[in-house]
């Protein structure tokens, strides 16, 4: 979200640059725009985007006529920004002040675009003034209810007759009732009667959608109750007949944008989901299937609710893809057997559980499904993974699953990526049509396509000789790391402490940070340096940071130390366990060669420096002689 001032400026500058060149803002910029929920920023963005030529390549156009019963203020700018965020360019024609009745009555919606053509969408913006009489008797609640009903009848007549002459889709919305209308009624019984009449009005408005195929009604009153903005600004209401705040207008613009998006066929069809800390809490490879948070009390209930919601999306035709950096057999077992899991392995049309870059997995999943990546939404808790997918596949819509898991369901649904006007038979059959298939291979491209991204990440690895204070953290890492754990020898605090002070041993920790933040201590080495050949007793690395070359930087640091001490070679071991398959090819991948004995590898230190990957800045925390 572009909350920070400099990010806001940067977003506006990127939009200005696109407008200056007369081209569509890139998908990544549109994605950032879609995530903005600050009305001031959206209003500015909409003003800037008004400069885009109507035939901008890459943005399907949509003609929207706006009719209102009040001063619409910044609505046009907000709607334009929201629409461009969703990948469409609107031509918006706003009728004159309070011209709703007249425009509907005279037909053709007043030829808003001056070419006699129909708009695609007619947005009818309503406020309470349309339905309330100019004056009413506070002791006659029934009379007020009758007036409200009569005004609704007038509106329905106008809507139905105007649509007879047009192919446009008309969008109406429910209307919030100001508290002052209710509070003017002193009798609680009368107040309840008026509130009921108002709810019946909103129910009747929603009923128009059931009666007329061309009408869509969105629930503004409900959305405002669930949103962060107050609905009204009394000052601007009295001063300028602007009943709604800019925030409320943004909520309405987004509701109408969702209709437009669905009508233009921009709905997404595939949801690709991460597993650890997205579909359940915790890391399967570290905590085990019994240890992940799923179901029960907070926070496990948040993850289960997300699974339930995803299952409901699937019932409505959304195809599910599982993309997780994990051990495939562990995942299959946990999904099949966890008693609280609601998404079982067969819920996913594609299962890509492997250690490849997720962008590669999404590309392969798209190819395997025969659907374009434009149809994908990707949800992941890791800023690293989201950033990489955003860079490699900017057309994929990205949903953040980090932060408090209580927001997971809201984050997935709030943009309306999967909205359609109507579910078809094909939608309902779709998940069954795409048989489950697995992508288990690690793609040969490896990190090749990602180096630009990794370089832009500014990964920094800080090596440090472990002394008193670091011992506990490193021992804890050894105890918890199962996947990238090369020998499974878990040196506890006492053993680690002893090694850290023994001249023939070396214990080192490795911290990683990048532009997304500081991961802290994520890796460690235990080394016997008593002879000419230094022996790595164990190496562990948290799987959170796999795929960034950190393990190679660890070897580079150690090789440097060994060469400085005139050692001739480094020796490493790999002892296979049920969970450490990911580390199987590590030593050879790092340039070591297999020796005669199984699982033992060596690197000759022949005077050529061993370099860390060039996208990593390898530093050493000073103060301790090594």
């Amino acid at each position: 979200m572009a909350e920070d001032m400099s990010e806001r400026r940067a977003l506006l500058d990127l939009l200005r640059a696109a407008v200056r060149d007369g081209r569509a803002p890139e998908p990544a910029i549109r994605g950032a725009l879609a995530g903005v929920d600050d009305p001031v920023l959206m209003r500015k963005a909409g003003t800037v985007l008004a400069g885009l030529p109507p035939d901008t390549t890459g943005l399907p156009t949509m003609r929207i006529a706006v009719l209102a019963t009040f001063t619409v203020g910044p609505f046009e700018q907000l709607l334009r920004a929201a629409m461009v965020g969703a990948g469409a360019l609107p031509a918006i024609a706003t009728a004159g002040y309070r011209a709703l009745d007249l425009t509907l009555a005279t037909g053709g919606f007043g030829d808003p675009f001056g070419d006699g053509g129909d708009p695609d969408l007619v947005a009818c913006l309503l406020d309470e003034s349309y339905f309330l009489p100019g004056d009413w008797n506070a002791v006659d609640a029934a009379g007020l209810a009758a007036s409200i009903e009569q005004r609704f009848g007038d509106l329905r007549g106008l809507v139905v007759s105007s649509l007879r002459r047009s192919a446009a889709t008309m969008v109406l919305h429910t209307v919030p009732l100001p508290a002052e209308v209710l509070d003017t009624h002193l009798s609680l019984r009368a107040r309840a009667a008026v509130a009921r009449a108002w709810h019946e009005l909103n129910a009747a408005l929603l009923g128009l959608a059931a009666q007329h195929r061309q009408v869509v009604v969105v629930d503004l009153a409900g959305a405002l109750a669930d949103g962060p903005y107050s609905a009204r600004d009394h000052r601007l209401h009295r001063y300028a007949d602007m009943p709604y705040t800019d925030g409320a207008l943004l909520v309405l613009a987004n509701e109408i944008r969702r209709v437009a998006q669905a009508r233009a066929g921009l709905s997404r069809k595939v949801l690709a989901l991460d597993l650890d800390n997205t579909l359940w809490g915790g890391v399967l490879g570290e905590a085990g299937a019994h240890g992940v948070q799923l179901g029960g009390l907070y926070p496990g209930n948040c993850y289960q609710q997300l699974q339930r919601t995803v299952a409901r999306l699937r019932e409505q035709g959304v195809i599910l893809v599982l993309t997780s950096k994990n051990d495939a057999s562990l995942v299959a077992k946990a999904l099949a057997q966890h008693p609280e899991a609601l998404l079982r392995p067969d819920a996913f049309s594609v299962t890509a559980v492997n250690w490849s870059a997720k962008a590669e997995n999404l590309r392969a999943a798209a190819a395997s499904l025969g659907l374009p990546t434009q149809a994908f939404v990707f949800m992941d808790d890791s800023a690293f993974e989201r950033g990489h997918v955003g860079e490699e596949l900017p057309e994929v819509a990205v949903v953040a699953a980090d932060g408090d898991p209580a927001y997971l369901v809201r984050s997935l649904l709030r943009h309306g990526w999967f909205d359609v006007l109507e579910l078809t038979e094909t939608d309902l059959r779709r998940p069954a049509l795409y048989r489950s298939r697995a992508l288990r291979e690690d793609f040969s491209t490896g990190f090749g396509s990602s180096q630009d991204y990794l370089r832009a990440l500014r990964v920094e690895v800080v090596a440090e000789r472990v002394t008193g204070f670091g011992v506990a953290r490193v021992a804890q890492l050894a105890a918890r790391t199962n996947q990238f754990n090369l020998t499974g020898r878990r040196y506890d605090e006492a053993a680690t402490a002893a090694m850290s002070t023994d001249p023939d041993h070396l214990v080192a920790s490795f911290s990683v940070s990048d532009r997304f933040g500081d991961e802290g201590v994520v890796g460690a080495l235990w080394v016997d340096r008593g002879g000419q050949v230094w022996r790595v007793l164990n190496a562990v690395l948290s799987c959170r940071v796999l795929g960034r070359g950190v393990e190679l930087a660890m070897v580079a640091w150690l090789a440097g130390k060994a060469m400085a001490a005139n050692a001739t070679a480094l020796r490493g071991e790999y002892v296979r366990s049920a969970k450490n398959g990911v580390a199987g090819g590590f030593w050879e991948g790092a340039g070591f060669t297999a020796t005669g004995s199984a699982g033992v590898f060596e690197l000759d230190l022949n005077g050529t420096p061993y370099l860390a990957p060039k996208w990593i800045r390898l530093l050493e925390r000073s103060g301790v002689p090594t």
Binding site: V40, P74, R235, L236, Y239, A240, M242
Partner: protein, 85 residues
């Protein structure tokens, strides 16, 4: 930078955008009526000032402001009183 000076810099930034005038011009000619300070641009500026400073202004005092300095003292007084939104 004093409070008033930093408030003024922010106000000038906002006005420069809403009135489409340079900060330099607004700094040297400080009477708002010299620019297109009409109901639309003044409400547009109001939305941005309120959002930027986290305040809710009394519209009467806001419309009474004639110069950049009036706006600065309006915001400074409002924020120093700690009036909640």
């Amino acid at each position: 930078m004093s409070d008033a000076a930093s408030v003024e810099a922010t106000i000038l930034d906002i006005l420069s955008e809403t009135l489409d005038e340079s900060v330099g011009d607004l700094r040297s000619h400080r009477v708002l009526a010299a620019y297109e300070w009409d109901s639309i641009t003044s409400l547009l500026s109001l939305a941005q000032l309120e959002s930027q400073f986290g305040v809710t202004l009394d519209l009467r005092s806001y419309h009474a402001a004639r110069t950049v300095d009036d706006l600065v003292s309006l915001i400074v007084n409002h924020t120093s009183q700690g009036v909640p939104r």
